[in-house]
């Protein structure tokens, strides 16, 4: 398959046919980036409302805090989102995240060299993802079921390994500073973990948007049989994405261990937050649609709501209620836009 294989199910496949005379900036934006529109609206509304309620919300310091919160969940979201684009789910990312961070903490406490510890843990996290893929693809059971099982399995392993106690570091190690604990200034809430997230986002943006493999991912999740018919190695693509999803969950765990200098074996529940962020960012639950930009914006949108509610002095249990509303509103917007464009096409 060549790099210029026609894209199957990409977010704006027919933008070129839109008459330039009729395409003001807004129109082009809706056509090209309609999957990300919901997240943009959510961010705009969040910033308008919470800045009105508390002007301190619209500051670089607050935005730094939002990016820091978004970094770990955002890293998981990119892995989960890419896997969703290829038509599969991984519900075990939260447990993989926790277990990987625990293993990293234990290796560091055992004085294993930092680089070796990190590489080992990332490899292990990737293997956990690969295992999910192998079970799903070999047995042909839904990935939802496979990863639901491994979610509980790795959560149990985390509790077993730690005996229920968190793994904590009293004094920061250099590797923890590099992973997540460093800040531009002592008072800053922006952590280096946000930069790692940025690096991951750029790499995956290139993979999805600029490579033949990215094309295959969209084809695999969008029109699987058509993609298979034109030679896309569908199962291999899914297997790689499961592995990448696991690897990024492990990386996110390492980032949180670095930022917090501690990791608890309690189930994080991050898997649903990652899926929610991806959906808010325009990733389709049915595969074939979604972009890394959308995943990043979706994560920032939800993190902004989380921080905004605290800044407004609203009880935090409103967060989950708000996220629920945001997901529904954004999916409705995305569906309506898709339907509108589909109607016009046919």
């Amino acid at each position: 398959m060549k790099a210029d294989t026609p894209r199957v199910g990409r977010s704006a496949p027919f933008a070129d046919s839109f008459p330039s005379a009729l395409t003001p900036l807004l129109g082009r934006l809706i056509l090209h980036r309609r999957r990300e529109l919901g997240a943009v609206i959510a961010i705009a509304v969040t910033y308008s409302v919470f800045t009105y309620l508390n002007p301190a919300f619209l500051t670089w310091a607050t935005f730094g805090g939002i990016l820091t919160i978004a970094a770990e969940i955002g890293t998981i979201t990119i892995g989960e989102g890419v896997l969703m684009v290829s038509g599969e789910f991984d519900l075990s990312v939260g447990s993989n995240f926790t277990f990987s961070a625990i293993v990293l903490g234990l290796l560091l406490k055992a004085a294993v060299p930092a680089a070796l510890s990190v590489i080992t843990v990332l490899g292990m996290a990737g293997l956990i993802g690969l295992l999910n893929g192998l079970i799903t693809l070999r047995t042909r059971i839904p990935s939802f079921i496979t990863t639901l099982g491994t979610l509980f399995f790795w959560n149990g392993m985390a509790l077993w390994v730690t005996g229920g106690w968190p793994i904590s570091f009293i004094a920061p190690l250099p590797v923890l500073n590099v992973l997540g604990n460093s800040t531009p200034s002592p008072a800053s809430s922006l952590h280096v973990s946000a930069a790692w997230w940025g690096v991951v986002a750029v790499i995956f943006w290139i993979i999805l948007e600029k490579t033949r493999y990215g094309n295959w991912v969209y084809g695999t999740g969008g029109k699987t049989e058509a993609a298979r018919a034109i030679g896309v190695p569908v199962d291999t693509v899914k297997l790689i994405n499961f592995t990448l999803c696991g690897l990024l969950a492990g990386l996110a765990g390492a980032l949180q261990l670095g930022r917090m200098m501690s990791i608890s074996p309690v189930r994080s529940g991050l898997e649903l937050e990652a899926i929610a962020s991806a959906v808010v960012g325009g990733v389709s639950l049915f595969g074939g649609m979604g972009t890394v930009l959308g995943m990043v914006l979706g994560t920032i949108a939800l993190a902004s709501i989380e921080v905004g509610l605290v800044a407004a002095g609203a009880p935090s249990f409103w967060y989950t209620a708000f996220v629920g509303c945001v997901i529904i509103v954004i999916v409705v917007i995305n569906t309506q836009l898709d339907q509108l464009i589909f109607t016009r096409r046919s």
Partner: protein
């Protein structure tokens, strides 16, 4: 196939998105406004490691609200929906960004909360620890005067006091089990250590059992455990959920009160009734209303009158047959 869009379609899409945004914006604004009368200045934050869905924390929240009302300041209780020190840290950071007047927080995972508290100190925001103190090795790593005080109880001591009431009731070498509904929670692990410490003189055989956070399942897990270990003489619970499960099971089994003793933690209707019936020997009463109220009051005094609180303001006790009636009266009024 025609792939062109008309201006009308674009207009519809834009209007639709704008209307949706406006609806969301208006709704959000109304709801948030209701909770944010003076969020921009002078707000006191009480940030826990778990949210008010737990009855224990609901009472803390009540104490926070009572303090805010009594002092005429905005005081809010925040906490993640499930146990999560990292999310707690994120919320403390958000409160710092919101220029809080003061922040109260717990030390469920001291390593996690240390950075945000130091950031608060750099921003000139006073902080207080509440609920359970950090371990000594961590306490030494906090910057001088950050937090300015601790208001709460050492759950290890409180648990030891509660379990010590079993000493005259059990024989040496008794088999006991501690049921944990939330494995991984450091405070519950400390409470477990306290329970064991209180009955050390019995040289007991102690087992730990994870029962999960769903009562029906917890009942069946304990039932299976007792079938496998029929010589179990006491059950220690780490929260109301565990007490409910243990009491329900023993009632179903029609076990006599002296066959299997129960020591519980946290106060609610079921626990108090079980103490009256003799089903539960004693329960830890952490008096968490004070954990909610006192730190806010202390921060207020610190900010307005430069009153430095003492390092450790204690609270917490035990409920047993002697004081159960009085505590029940307080519980009915929502103070337990």
């Amino acid at each position: 196939m025609q792939e062109k869009l008309s201006r009308r379609d674009l207009l519809k899409a834009t209007v639709g998105a704008t209307v949706a945004a406006s609806v969301l914006s208006t709704g959000t604004r109304h709801i948030a406004k209701a909770f944010a009368q003076s969020a921009s200045s002078g707000t006191y934050y009480w940030v826990a490691h778990v949210g008010p869905g737990d009855p224990y924390w609901a009472v803390v929240q009540r104490g926070v609200q009572a303090a805010g009302k009594a002092l005429g300041v905005k005081a809010v209780f925040e906490g993640p929906s499930g146990y999560s020190p990292p999310k707690q840290a994120d919320m403390v950071n958000a409160a710092i960004s919101a220029k809080a007047a003061g922040i109260v927080t717990t030390s469920a995972d001291p390593a996690v909360i240390r950075g945000p508290l130091q950031r608060a100190a750099q921003a000139g925001i006073p902080t207080i620890f509440s609920d359970t103190p950090p371990p000594k090795d961590f306490a030494a790593t906090f910057a001088n005067g950050t937090p300015i005080a601790f208001v709460g109880v050492d759950v290890r001591i409180a648990a030891a006091r509660a379990s010590a009431k079993l000493v005259p009731l059990l024989q040496k070498g008794a088999e006991v089990v501690v049921v944990n509904h939330e494995p991984g929670n450091r405070v519950l692990e400390i409470k477990t250590s306290g329970y064991i410490e209180g009955i050390t003189s019995l040289d007991p055989k102690v087992d730990k059992l994870v029962i999960g956070e769903e009562t029906t399942k917890a009942v069946e897990i304990i039932r299976a455990y007792l079938q496998k270990n029929p010589n179990t003489k006491a059950i220690f619970t780490l929260g109301a959920l565990g007490t409910h499960a243990a009491v329900k099971l023993l009632d179903e089994m029609k076990a006599s009160n002296d066959k299997i003793r129960v020591v519980g933690s946290d106060i609610d209707d079921v626990t108090l009734d079980a103490i009256k019936r003799g089903r539960v020997v004693s329960a830890i009463d952490l008096q968490q209303l004070g954990f909610g109220f006192l730190p806010i009051a202390l921060l207020y005094l610190y900010n307005n009158y430069a009153l430095d609180p003492n390092d450790h303001i204690g609270a917490g006790g035990t409920v047993d047959a002697k004081n159960v009636d009085f505590i029940t009266k307080l519980a009915k009024q929502g103070f337990r």
